[in-house]
């Protein structure tokens, strides 16, 4: 059906998007690679020549590297566990018949639309402030000593804030998946006398496995690069310096561009490992 003519028109129509994205990908990537092999300090002498893999070695052997890897893993892992488990439970609850379902859905989804700087600052001040925060009031009400959340329990605090932001996303996707579950299958299982827990393990969970995988992959990619939540709360202090934040500090704060760029290359490789799995699933879906 597609003629030679329509093919070339189609190519022309795709060209702007393809060229722009190609440029957006190749130009900065090439520059990052280029800088990563240089000693480059814009404020202290500028370009000081080629150094080979020096930056790569120094980035990994610096004392802040492993703590940053650890912080990244703990935050990503913590948020994933919380959002997936609560997301499944919430999605199952929201799927039940009830009054005012639409309104409840809106209430649950709302945090996703709050900009990251707002959610981070609202949690930091109005909830986690050790003197005037609501949590401090709550703690005192039960006779406990209020916690200085962002300094004493910094990782927990960041995980709580980010989980609150991402729970709606997980819930919404899992809810969409649950709603596509064949209800007759569940009814049949119920009639056969399968207890709720068995129904959950043998019917609901397998049905959700693909959606859960997608939630995990997409969230991982976004969570690896969370920035604003740390920027406005701890500024990377108290052990919350993630890889992303470490690279940001190397590049813009201490203006060690070569070192930061080497870190950037590591971050790109890391993200690509996750991305490959996600692309496989999305690609399969395209064929169907």
């Amino acid at each position: 059906m597609a003629t030679q003519h329509s093919r070339s028109v189609a190519r022309l129509m795709m060209a702007p998007a393809v060229v722009l994205l190609l440029g957006w990908m190749l130009v900065p990537l090439t520059m990052t690679l280029y800088f990563s092999f240089k000693k480059y300090l814009p404020l202290r002498g500028g370009d000081l020549g080629w150094v080979g893999f020096d930056n790569y070695v120094r980035f990994v052997s610096s004392s802040s590297f492993w703590p940053a890897v650890q912080a990244t893993l703990v935050i990503v892992g913590g948020v994933l566990v919380i959002t997936v488990i609560l997301g499944v439970l919430l999605a199952m609850l929201l799927d039940q018949p009830m009054w005012g379902q639409g309104v409840v859905r809106i209430l649950v989804i709302a945090p996703f639309f709050v900009m990251p700087t707002v959610s981070a600052l609202v949690w930091k001040n109005m909830f986690m402030d050790p003197v005037n925060g609501l949590l401090a009031h709550l703690w005192r009400f039960f006779g406990a000593e209020p916690i200085s959340w962002l300094s004493e329990a910094s990782m927990t605090s960041i995980i709580i804030i980010v989980s609150w932001q991402w729970l709606p996303f997980a819930t919404l996707i899992l809810l969409t998946a649950i709603q596509s579950l064949d209800s007759e299958q569940l009814e049949a299982a119920e009639m056969d006398g399968a207890p709720p827990l068995k129904r959950f393990y043998h019917i609901i969970l397998p049905h959700l496995s693909r959606a859960i995988t997608i939630v995990i992959l997409i969230q991982t990619i976004f969570l690896l690069s969370i920035f604003a939540e740390i920027f406005v709360t701890t500024g990377g202090a108290f052990g919350t310096r993630t890889l992303t934040y470490l690279i940001f500090q190397r590049v813009l704060e201490s203006q060690n561009v070569g070192l930061g760029s080497a870190g950037g290359v590591y971050a790109i490789i890391l993200a690509n490992i996750v991305a490959i799995f996600l692309m496989r699933i999305v690609g399969k879906n395209l064929d169907a």
Binding site: M1, V9, V122, I173, A271, A275
Partner: protein
Amino acid sequence: MARAVTTRRKSLNTVLAWAVGLLIFFPILWTILTSFKTEAQAIASPPLFLNFNWTLENYAIVQERSDYMRFLWNSVIIAGGSTILGVIIAVPAAWAMAFVPSKRTKDILLWMLSTKMLPAVGVLYPIYLLFIRLGLLDTRGGLVVVLMLINLPIIVWMLYTYFREIPGEILEAARMDGASLKEEILYVLTPMAVPGIASTVLLNFILAWNEAFWTLNLTAVDAAPLTAFIASYSSPEGLFFAKLSAASTMAIAPILILGWFSQKQLVRGLTFGAVK
């Protein structure tokens, strides 16, 4: 056969779901409530819920002190501009991929998606440097371009999944009737594509509005949108809970309202059609 649901069970679900929903929504509700308090009431112990003297003074102070309208305007221009520009570039591309697919269409789509996975921090310095060299640092135009580029893959994908749902027979029928390519796009395709394009615009406007890596790193004063405006409250002086709340409420209110309309598109847009 519909499953018989007892009223008791439905009531139980309702109570539980509303309790959980309100708990999740509570930080937003609390922020909105606090924005109408005086600073003293905002930190009162025990906390005041509804029994305080409602006041609008925080909103006036925030606007006066920090020129809220300018940040709002920057947000509107940056989010709106990047979305419109992105859609203009993406519509032809998505149209071509959906209706004149070739062997490489799938690869191109997946490759576009892969550019979305590029961690921003990995290319922070090059973009920063290019912005300085091109005089784009702290300009709205520069941010419009960057946000357009980071959201372009999502826009193409969303439009592609919508376009694919338009039955090809209709296009063939139009072609048989002698419609030119231009007529086909203008009179046949566009009316059917409008809902999909509208959903795409909505979701991408929201994503661009809330973007907080490039907007924080590439702006200072002139082009700073609401994300940066709020971040400036991270080092406060004196009493400020009520003012922070007022500023936050103003920054999220427009998007919360838009967001409620885009729940369904959210799933499609953010899972790249993998979950529908």
